[in-house]
């Protein structure tokens, strides 16, 4: 069995959830087995059923008060329990903060080799061989998993969505755990903004903007494109933007369909975080900026002039 852990956000799934099921289905086909999707937390049956559309043969839901906030230790116990009951040989999680927090613990508990950050299904099943990114996207490494059980975390927006409708049963599983030793004091959430990790389009700006007060045009561009905003390291280090928006080797690693690098020279550390983007547009005054080597489309020019013109041009196209 392939077991895939499907996180929820206030009871809802998102594109990433369906991508995980799509990937698991493809892997199950290759290994000649079936997919179980596991949800932990309060998700209603209508939402759970959506997982069947992308290839889940069975859906398990665990609801437990102790699991309302992420406690890596307890979540790993629950997933291990389900994996053992269902004789799962592969466990698939997202390569996001949650997946990265739980997968290593599962690896130890199940004595299963972990490959974090895969983008495709294994190239070989005997021995189980899969490719992963290393050196922050600067290279790929082929990895052989020696253990009978395997754990993989999948990069968001790498596999895509594939529909494979199944007739899946929903099984309510009662698993009790110890009391969590992690207590929530408060949550701070930005509302109304598109999340960087989920965005199809990311508009990112760097020092070429010259001053923080020029940031408004970046927001305007993001708004008409329905995009998330991001920034280069100097911009977050100087406090123009929060650290959570820094993309690059030591910030967030993203792979949107379209990435705008505006006034970003494209140092190797920056490229490491964005090189998986499907299409990159660069605007920079320096024609020799390394960003143009990574970009698909480029404009040599001042972002403070180009961005407003771009906004006008996009508005016209939309009409």
């Amino acid at each position: 069995m392939i077991l895939t852990y499907i996180e929820n956000w206030e009871g809802k799934f998102k594109k990433l959830s369906y991508e995980l099921v799509s990937y698991s289905y493809e892997l199950a086909k290759k290994l000649n087995t079936k997919v179980i999707a596991l949800s932990i937390g309060n998700v209603n049956n209508d939402e759970l059923t959506l997982l069947a559309k992308y290839g889940a043969h069975k859906i398990i839901t665990v609801k437990n008060q102790q699991l309302n906030i992420l406690d890596n230790k307890l979540f790993a116990e629950v997933i291990t329990n389900v994996a053992q009951k269902n004789e799962a040989t592969c466990i698939i999680l997202a390569n996001n903060t949650t997946g990265k927090a739980i997968a290593p613990r599962l690896s130890v508990k199940l004595q299963a080799g972990l490959v974090a950050g895969v983008e495709s299904i294994p190239t070989n099943t005997q021995p189980f061989t899969i490719r992963k990114k290393v050196y922050t996207g600067k290279a790929y490494n082929n990895v052989i998993v020696k253990t009978p059980k395997k754990i993989l975390t999948l990069f968001q927006n790498s596999f895509g969505l594939v529909e494979n409708p199944q007739e899946a049963n929903i099984e309510n599983l009662d698993i009790s755990t110890a009391e969590s030793e992690i207590k929530l004091i408060e949550v701070n959430k930005v509302t109304g903004k598109i999340l960087l990790q989920d965005a199809e389009i990311v508009v990112s700006a760097g020092r070429g903007l010259k001053a923080p007060e020029n940031w408004g045009i970046v927001e305007d561009l993001a708004k008409i494109l329905n995009a998330a905003t991001a920034c280069s390291r100097p911009v977050s280090d100087e406090g123009w933007r929060p650290h959570s928006e820094h993309v690059g080797q030591t910030g967030k690693i993203i792979a949107p369909n379209l990435y705008f690098a505006l006034g970003i020279s494209g140092a190797i550390q920056h490229l490491g975080g964005v090189s998986s983007s499907k299409c990159i547009v660069a605007v920079n005054t320096d024609k020799d900026a390394p960003i143009f080597e990574a970009a698909d489309y480029g404009i040599i020019g001042d972002v403070r002039k180009v961005i407003p013109e771009l906004i006008v041009a996009i508005k016209q196209t939309k009409k």
Binding site: Q111, N141, V145
Partner: protein, 248 residues
């Protein structure tokens, strides 16, 4: 109380990655540094110790690696760690690294273990949480803030689109990311001198086992040439994105 910081020795982040025979990293000219996230973890550990009025007695750094990683360990001692452990093995995977750290520290009862959320070389993001599981202690990942007051730790955890403020019972392990500390410490001459005489214990590996084997490397395919568009013709760019790339 005492804190353990796990550090990894990685190529400087500006390194252009090349390989010898597709199997081995070409180490010519590479500058080795403390993994940037581990360096921030160490910085925060030092800040916590300084602010603890003596409650935090000791900061130990641990590295799994061959003797060639010692300059990196000495740097950690030079910025203020009290002592260091090196497990003498070139680990094959994250499990082996975590297992060797666990073997070396399991009887030491550290109250807090900090490490970077990932390393900038293998990007496995696994050693920290594996170690927590091996030691059977609490953990929290992607922490961007940690504070200590009257034996109670509060941590700030990054979640999608925001942060959570949590309390967590010791002993625990936290993997840290940007924001945990702002500027890494730079060793001063006095620190460098002191580091030479600080204890660095070398331990031999035990129960060596790995789960995965890294085989050959591949470099990403070179990108096609960038299509340049005149700055006074942004409409053309919008057309290309719409009709050719089909991304807007």
């Amino acid at each position: 109380m005492k804190i353990l910081v796990c550090i990894s020795n990685v190529p400087d982040t500006t390194t252009k990655i090349k390989f010898v025979n597709d199997y081995e990293l070409d180490k010519t000219g590479i500058q080795w540094i403390i993994n940037p996230w581990d360096e921030l973890a160490l910085t925060r550990a030092l800040e916590l110790k300084e602010a603890s009025a003596g409650a935090i007695k000791k900061i130990t750094v641990i590295n799994v690696g061959a003797a060639e990683t010692e300059p990196t360990i000495r740097k950690a001692l030079a910025v203020g760690a009290d002592d260091a452990i090196r497990v003498n093995i070139i680990a094959k995977d994250a499990y082996q690294t975590a297992k060797q750290i666990a073997e070396a520290v399991k009887d030491e009862n550290y109250d807090l273990i900090l490490t970077g959320v990932e390393s900038s070389d293998s990007n496995g993001m696994a050693v920290g949480e594996m170690l927590a599981e091996l030691l059977n202690i609490n953990s929290a990942a992607s922490i961007s803030g940690i504070n200590f007051d009257k034996s109670l730790f509060t941590i700030k955890r990054e979640i999608d689109g925001g942060t959570e403020l949590l309390t967590i019972k010791t002993p625990f392990l936290a993997t840290v990311q940007k924001g945990i500390a702002i500027n890494p410490r730079i060793p001063a001459m006095r620190g460098i001198m002191q580091a030479r005489t600080k204890p660095l214990k070398v331990v031999e590996p035990k129960n060596i086992y790995n789960y995965v084997e890294y085989t050959d490397y591949e470099l990403p395919k070179p990108k096609g040439k960038c299509k340049m568009i005149a700055a006074d013709n942004v409409t053309e760019l919008v057309n290309l994105l719409h009709n050719e790339a089909k991304v807007i």
